[in-house]
Symmetry: C2
Subunit: 563 residues, 2 copies
Amino acid sequence: MAAELTAHQLIAQHRPTLDQALEAIRTRAYWSPHPEHPKAYGENGSLDMAAGKAAFDALLGGRLDLGQPGTDDWVGGEVSPYGIELGVTYPHADVDTLLPAMRAGQRAWRDAGAEMRAVVCLEILKRISDRTHEFAHAVMHTSGQAFMMAFQAGGPHAQDRGLEAVAYAYVEQVRTPDDAEWTKPQGKRDPIALTKRFTPVPRGVALVIGCNTFPTWNGYPGLFASLATGNAVLVKPHPRAVLPLALTVQVAREVLAEAGFDPNLVALAAERAGEGIAKTLATRPEIRIIDYTGSTAFGDWLEANARQAQVYTEKAGVNTVLVESTDNYKGMLSNLAFSLSLYSGQMCTTPQNLLIPRDGIRTEEGPRTYDEVVADLARSVGGLLGDDARANGLLGAIVNPDVKARLEAAAGLGEVALASREIANPDFPDAVVRTPVIVKLDGAKPDDQAAFMNECFGPVSFAVAVDSAADAVALLRRTIANKGAMTVGAYTTSEEVEEAVQEACLEECAQLSLNLTGGVYVNQTAAFSDFHGSGGNPAANAALCDGAFVANRFRVVEVRREA
Amino acid sequence: MAAELTAHQLIAQHRPTLDQALEAIRTRAYWSPHPEHPKAYGENGSLDMAAGKAAFDALLGGRLDLGQPGTDDWVGGEVSPYGIELGVTYPHADVDTLLPAMRAGQRAWRDAGAEMRAVVCLEILKRISDRTHEFAHAVMHTSGQAFMMAFQAGGPHAQDRGLEAVAYAYVEQVRTPDDAEWTKPQGKRDPIALTKRFTPVPRGVALVIGCNTFPTWNGYPGLFASLATGNAVLVKPHPRAVLPLALTVQVAREVLAEAGFDPNLVALAAERAGEGIAKTLATRPEIRIIDYTGSTAFGDWLEANARQAQVYTEKAGVNTVLVESTDNYKGMLSNLAFSLSLYSGQMCTTPQNLLIPRDGIRTEEGPRTYDEVVADLARSVGGLLGDDARANGLLGAIVNPDVKARLEAAAGLGEVALASREIANPDFPDAVVRTPVIVKLDGAKPDDQAAFMNECFGPVSFAVAVDSAADAVALLRRTIANKGAMTVGAYTTSEEVEEAVQEACLEECAQLSLNLTGGVYVNQTAAFSDFHGSGGNPAANAALCDGAFVANRFRVVEVRREA
């Protein structure tokens, strides 16, 4: 088959972007090729706002036929957290047919080499980028994110993370040269000479198990890391968030085919309600790599049972912010208020426990008691979300009934410093929109500890009174060690406290944001610069992205012979 | 404490070597800083042959006091495969005291940074190199290797593998810069600016579980990879091969102390006979990394049970050489004869199954029948080992009674093409020295398959008659997939067969040597150039050395704040 996209074209078009990505992960300075502003789209083949919305609307109620082999049925049933039924159906796969078909194209994909795989991945990302407006609606109506967040986190930021994974995968594969001449001196005798050829080979079929809240952002790193290292990739989306990953698979299959490769190198495994296909897939012998984002229970199950595979998990943690002192009290409050509110706290990186000395904190405006700090924070959140339109734009919708139930139960755990408020969404009357609750707890009380030492995913934060900064650091250590943490924040003007918090994070292996008062928030990480998770505490066994995230997705086979 | 070895001195002395190692792993051309010739030693502080022997003799019957905390007893009992009792005793550790003591120095070691750790490791290797003659006797009298092999494989080649691990560890840690400035444009508003600090942090205490046959060669990669990435390292040697690793620990502790670090960052865990301390240590919560070389059964146990640790295993495989055709029949026979004889086949890389078409092979001297090939190979081995002195120098001694028992049992498995012969060692009358046995088996017979499809570690090879080259390739694939392989060899002048063997090795992930007829053997790999194992088949889950071998021994913690 004559490829419509030649290696020459793809390399000419994408190699400069790959080189910039390689430079960015080396310097970790700011960089992104994917515009964050909705108005940046609409030229050079990309869909503008209206076209993206129209494309999304055209998908509703239809069948997304990916042309996959072994399709034995059509399944669907997504209902947007904003209330609309998507009505899209997807291929349901007979895995005994699909998995062998996915392996058929692996040899050609392997033989294409690391650079060709990288630029094919970049072409996939480019086409996804062009459809960012369409993806934004797909992410919004599966995750419940507000439009702007679905656009940015589900679009350019997710694409950045995918590109970052491609860059890491590429550089890892080319660390060993394709060929080597090895000539060993033998004193007066002739040297011994060998020629050696090194080939990166894939592990097999990789499985990506998607999540409900960030289907693209959390799905792309594993998907692209595995594909770029030569593996076929089977995408098993969360049953409530199929569409964004199904579109991704569709684009990948198109590009692979146009570049002369077997489209079955990327496939979708949608499931019937309650089918629980992830366990079956995860233990199939063909599956050699698994990327998973979701609950700790299933992540632990995968690590224990999918022994034939390399398993990369992002599970749950309990994120802490230490509030000890600040020289920008208002900045701190508004920064924290935003962090607690964004996407109704439904991020694995949202702070849960705010540790505040019961004797109060120092600020540039003088001391503030524990009660004052909590009341001021509550006021700050209240102010941020006081306007319903802005609140809707920040909070998005509650993603599922479990989150709503946890939110409602949280008010019974202690004294409520800020009650959750119901907000109407004029565009989507069925959307469940709630402001965060802040509950006061005492770090010294066992019952309270039982509450705040477990992840309470959703718009729930605990203002935990602690005896001292030292007590807070000790509690932080215990929390990371026992429960894991995706993020840690701290506010302090004390060198001693800063040093103690840093040392706790270095020893317990958690990513720390210090004294954020401006437009960067503890729950946000930027691709090419910030690591997402550390891979060294119970919240996640891998970080996005580093060498460890890609290095074991392929192996290098050497063939040597006498020169 | 004022360090006797300053960072400045160590970097000045060792940075050039590190840079050369970094270049070598990038080009994979021949390089080694460690001389292979015994006469190269004796100047610049290194021990010459006589001094090395004297140093070894001085150890015998003595107590090797490493100054470790928590030493509750002294244990020993090594008996050389050459018959002499070493009589050395080693500290037996109370691990509840030793493990916490090992963690005490980790913060300073972490804060020293990747370059300082690398040059401290290089200083350790330098001092080991200076004592290569002493180590050679220690390796010889624990592994049973002949002196020259113990000298080279246990000395410079092991040191090369250790240095290679340091180089990989270093480069992996400096991929992320120490600091970054991140400035994100905000249109007309001021940009957002963050400063970020990235610190490689260790996982915890690493455990190295040594083996009997190559205590240093197989032990050094894990030891140095873990130490160079900031971890403390506990070395649990094989009870029959303690001395080489105990000396290694001694040198490491000396250098660490002189450089101002806690010597307890490296410690020895010797055990009483039958104590089985490896299982206890491997599941301690402090142990976060394990490197293991040995039986498949215990390697599998570690992978299944030491779930709190990153586990790197080199287990057993069944190595195959395909003999289909050659244009250098004599070269092939002598190359194979050497491979089968070296260290009595007691290498994880020694070929076991020689697959030969029952219709014979093509050679530059005309066709040879299966029987002729096997007879010629037997004659070639016989000739190589015909002289007892040369035989002793190649074979070494049988390492333990199990190997001897397997050798004796092998003769009953089929028609013996070459019988094993007992050889006297004039220097060590109690040494058990045996030439290899070659047994003819039929690849089509189930009973024969049962014999050759299991690892028969020791001087046992099977000449397996197969129906065709295609049959041989199919059998090769099955063997790698089911049993694993550290090495694969093939002799063929047919492009088609070469292609089929290569494809089998690429798909099943095994390292291939083609048509070796000169002074390089399928069972030898050179550091900085050849990978040892692939990490992609059941024989080993890691390769020596690549990025995957080091990337997950540390994590990177980021601390970010507003600029």
